[in-house]
Amino acid sequence: MVCLGLVVIFTLLAIYGEIVYQVHDFRDITPAYQKTDLDMQFQPPSSKHWMGTDGLGRDVMSRLIQGVSIAYKVGIITSLIAIPIGVFFGCIAGYFGGKVDDVVVWLYSTFASMPGLLFILAIAMVVGKGLLGIYLGIGLTTWVGICRLIRGEVMKHKEQTYVQAAKALGLSSGRIMFKHILPNISHIIIVTFSLRFPAAVGTEVFLSFLGIGVQDQPSWGLMINNARMRLWQGMWWEMTFVTIALFLLVLAFNLLGDALRDALDPRLND
C-alpha cells in the first residue's frame, strides 16, 4: 500500500514537472529550476530552499521534481519501444512456430548475447548524446526478456480449446494472436512494465552521469555527477536528496512489481 502511495506521488510529481517544463518551453522563459542565482550558491537547506541550492544557486528541490519527470519519460518511452517489439516477435514466434520461430529465436539470442550496459552505451554513443540515444539504447536492448516470456506463454495458449475454437471459426491468425491470445497474457506485460521501469530509470541515471545522456535538463544522473565533487567539500544536501528520491522511486516500483506479480501470476515467481 505504501509503495502504491509512493508511486502515485511520484507520478503526480512527474506530471507536474512535465507541465512546468512544457509551459515554460511554450512561453520561452527560464523556468525556476534553471534560474541561476550566484549570490545563493551552495545554500544549505532552509525555509526558502527546502533542499538547499547547487553550485549555480539553483533550487535543488525544483530540479529534483523536474528529474522525476525525466525519469518517468525514460521509463515510459523505453517501455513503449521495447514492449511492442518484444510482444510482436514473441507472439508470431510462439504462434507460427517453425521457420518464423527459428528466426525470432536467432534474433533474440543474438541480442541477448550482447554485453548489457556496454551495448546500451554503444547505441547511445552511435545515436548521439541526448534523450533519444537513451531511449533507443535502453529500448532496443531490453525487449529480449519479454519476447521470451510471451513466446513461451503463446506456445502454451496455442494448444488451448479457445484458440482451437477460434481457428475452427476460420478467424485470421492476426486476429487470433492479438485479439484472443494477447488479452489472456496481458498480465505478463503489466508485470514486466513495472519491473523494467526502475531498471530503465537506473540506467538513465547512469548514462546521464557519464555525460552520454541528458544534456541540459536536470536529470538525476547529472545532479549526482555535479554533487559528487561538492560532497567532498561537505555540501551534502544535493547528493542526499537525489539519492533518497532515486531510492524511493526504484523501491516503490520494485515492490509494486513484486506485488503485481504475486497477484496476477504466481507461476511467474522466478
Binding site: 548475447s113 550482447m114 556496454l118 551495448f119 554513443m125 552511435v126 532515486l246
Partner: protein
C-alpha cells in the same frame, strides 16, 4: 555426448554470425561517420582517407561496384559553391547553380592526389568545351556524362572556351563487388586483428591484453565473494523460512536492489575512503587498492543474488526427495546443505557460467571511479572519445564470450542430466 556437443556448436554458428552482423550494423552502418571523430576536428582529408583505408571504410557497406572517396565530396552546385570558392578563374553563379570555368584555366578540385592503382569515375553535367582528366568535353547544351580515368591527373582544363558545370561527383571503381566493409570486417576478424585505436595510438588487441588483468583482479574476487556470501545467506533464508531473519533478509535484499550502483560507489568512496581513511581513495598500486572496490562490488550485487538463490533453494525445498529425506529422519541442516545444495547446483552453475563474460568486460563504473586501468575504464574512455574500434572490439568479444559460455552451460547441463540431450 560428442554428437550433442557438435550439434550445439553448429547451432552456435548463426548466433555468432548474428553478433558479428549486429556489431557491424551498429558501428559501420549507423555509426560509420562517427569513426573519424577520434582523429579530432582539424585533420586533412588525406589523413581521413588513410584512416578510412586502414579500416576499410572507403568501401561500399555490403556490396557494390562504386565507392566514395574523401578526395571529393558529392556536390550539387545549386546548393552552394563549396570548394569552388577557392579558385578565382572559376566563377560561381548562385541563381543558375553553376560554376563557369574561364578560358585557359587549370583546376583540380580534388583535395589530394588519387592512388594510381585504382580506377575512378567522374560523373558530371556540363556545357561548353574543355577537358576533364585528359578526356575532351564538348557540348553546346547541358549534357550528363561519365569520365573514367586512372589516378594521376584528374583536373579540369580549358583552352579558349568556357566550361560550365552543374553537378559533379567522384566514385572509385570497386573491382570486386564483394570487396565491401562487411567482408573487410570479417576478414579482419578471421586474422584475429581487432583494429587500431586512434585515441590511444595503439593496436586494440594490445589495449585489450593490457586491460584484462586489472579487470580480472577486480571482478574475480567480487564474483567469488559475492557468490559465497549470497549462497550462504540464501541457505539461511531457506533454513529459517518465514522466520524473522528470512523476512529481514528479503526486505534487505529488495532495499539493496533499489539503491543505485552509483550511490554505493559515491557513498563508499566518500565515507570509507575519504572521511575515515580506511582505504585508499584512488589508484591501482597494491592489493590494498582493491579492497574498497571489491567490497562495493559485492554489496551492490548482493540484493539480486540473494533473491535469485533464495528462490532456487525454496523451489528445491518442495520437491519429493526433500520430503523423503525428512521422513527418513535426516536432520534439517544435512538435508539443506547436502541434499538441496547439491540439487540446486544446476541453476547455480548456469548463473555462474553466464556471468563469466562480465568478468572479462570488467566493471565500467568501479574501474573508472577507482582508477583501475582495466577494460571497463578503457570502454568508458573509448565511448566518451568515440573511439569506435575499441568499443566495437570490446562489445564483440563480450558477446562472443557470452555465446561460448552459453555453450559450456548447455554441455554442463547435458553432463549432469542426460534427459537434456534428447530434446
Amino acid at each position: 555426448m560428442i554428437k550433442y556437443i557438435l550439434k550445439r556448436i553448429l547451432q552456435m554458428i548463426p548466433t555468432v554470425l548474428g553478433v558479428i552482423l549486429l556489431t557491424f550494423i551498429l558501428f559501420n552502418v549507423v555509426g560509420g561517420d562517427l569513426a573519424a571523430i577520434a582523429l579530432g576536428k582539424k585533420v586533412s582529408l588525406q589523413t581521413l582517407e588513410n584512416f578510412d583505408e586502414q579500416r576499410g571504410l572507403n568501401k561500399p557497406l555490403f556490396f557494390g561496384t562504386r565507392a566514395k572517396s574523401r578526395a571529393y565530396e558529392d556536390l550539387d552546385l545549386s546548393a552552394g559553391a563549396g570548394r569552388w570558392r577557392n579558385w578565382s578563374n572559376a566563377v560561381y553563379s548562385a541563381e543558375a547553380g553553376t560554376v563557369t570555368l574561364q578560358p585557359n584555366a587549370s583546376i583540380n578540385p580534388l583535395a589530394f592526389e588519387l592512388g594510381a592503382e585504382d580506377e575512378f569515375i567522374w560523373t558530371l553535367s556540363f556545357r561548353g568545351e574543355g577537358t576533364l582528366a585528359g578526356e575532351p568535353l564538348s557540348s553546346t547544351d547541358w549534357k550528363s556524362t561519365k569520365v573514367r580515368f586512372n589516378g594521376g591527373d584528374a583536373g579540369f582544363q580549358t583552352l579558349e572556351n568556357t566550361l560550365e558545370i552543374q553537378k559533379l561527383k567522384l566514385r572509385r571503381v570497386n573491382r570486386n563487388p564483394f570487396d565491401s566493409q562487411l567482408t573487410f570486417y570479417i576478414r579482419q576478424l578471421l586474422r584475429g586483428d581487432m583494429g587500431y585505436s586512434e585515441g590511444f595510438k595503439q593496436p586494440v588487441a594490445k589495449l585489450l591484453r593490457d586491460g584484462v588483468l586489472p579487470s580480472l583482479s577486480l571482478t574475480i574476487p567480487i564474483f567469488i565473494i559475492g557468490l559465497v556470501v549470497s549462497i550462504s545467506l540464501s541457505l539461511v533464508c531457506a533454513y529459517f523460512r518465514d522466520a524473522f531473519i528470512d523476512r529481514f533478509l528479503v526486505i534487505f535484499s529488495v532495499a539493496l536492489m533499489s539503491i543505485n550502483y552509483l550511490v554505493f560507489i559515491v557513498a563508499g568512496q566518500y565515507f570509507l575512503a575519504y572521511k575515515n581513511g580506511w582505504f585508499p581513495v584512488w589508484g591501482y598500486e597494491s592489493v590494498k587498492y582493491l579492497f574498497l572496490p571489491v567490497l562495493i562490488g559485492v554489496i551492490s550485487g548482493l540484493g539480486s543474488n540473494i533473491r535469485f538463490y533464495r528462490t532456487i533453494m525454496l523451489d528445491e525445498m518442495y520437491k519429493d526427495y526433500v520430503r523423503t529425506a525428512f521422513a527418513k529422519g535426516v536432520s534439517k541442516p544435512r538435508v539443506l546443505f547436502v541434499h538441496v545444495l547439491k540439487n540446486a547446483m544446476i541453476p547455480i552453475i548456469t548463473n555462474v557460467v553466464i556471468a563469466i563474460p562480465f568478468l572479462y568486460t570488467g566493471s565500467l563504473l568501479l574501474e573508472s571511479f577507482f582508477g583501475i586501468p582495466g577494460l571497463g575504464y578503457l570502454s568508458i574512455n573509448a565511448i566518451l572519445s568515440a573511439d569506435i574500434d575499441v568499443v566495437r572490439a570490446i562489445v564483440l568479444i563480450g558477446a562472443l564470450l557470452f555465446v561460448v559460455s552459453n555453450l559450456l552451460t548447455d554441455i554442463c547441463y547435458a553432463a549432469a542430466d542426460p534427459r537434456v540431450k534428447l530434446k
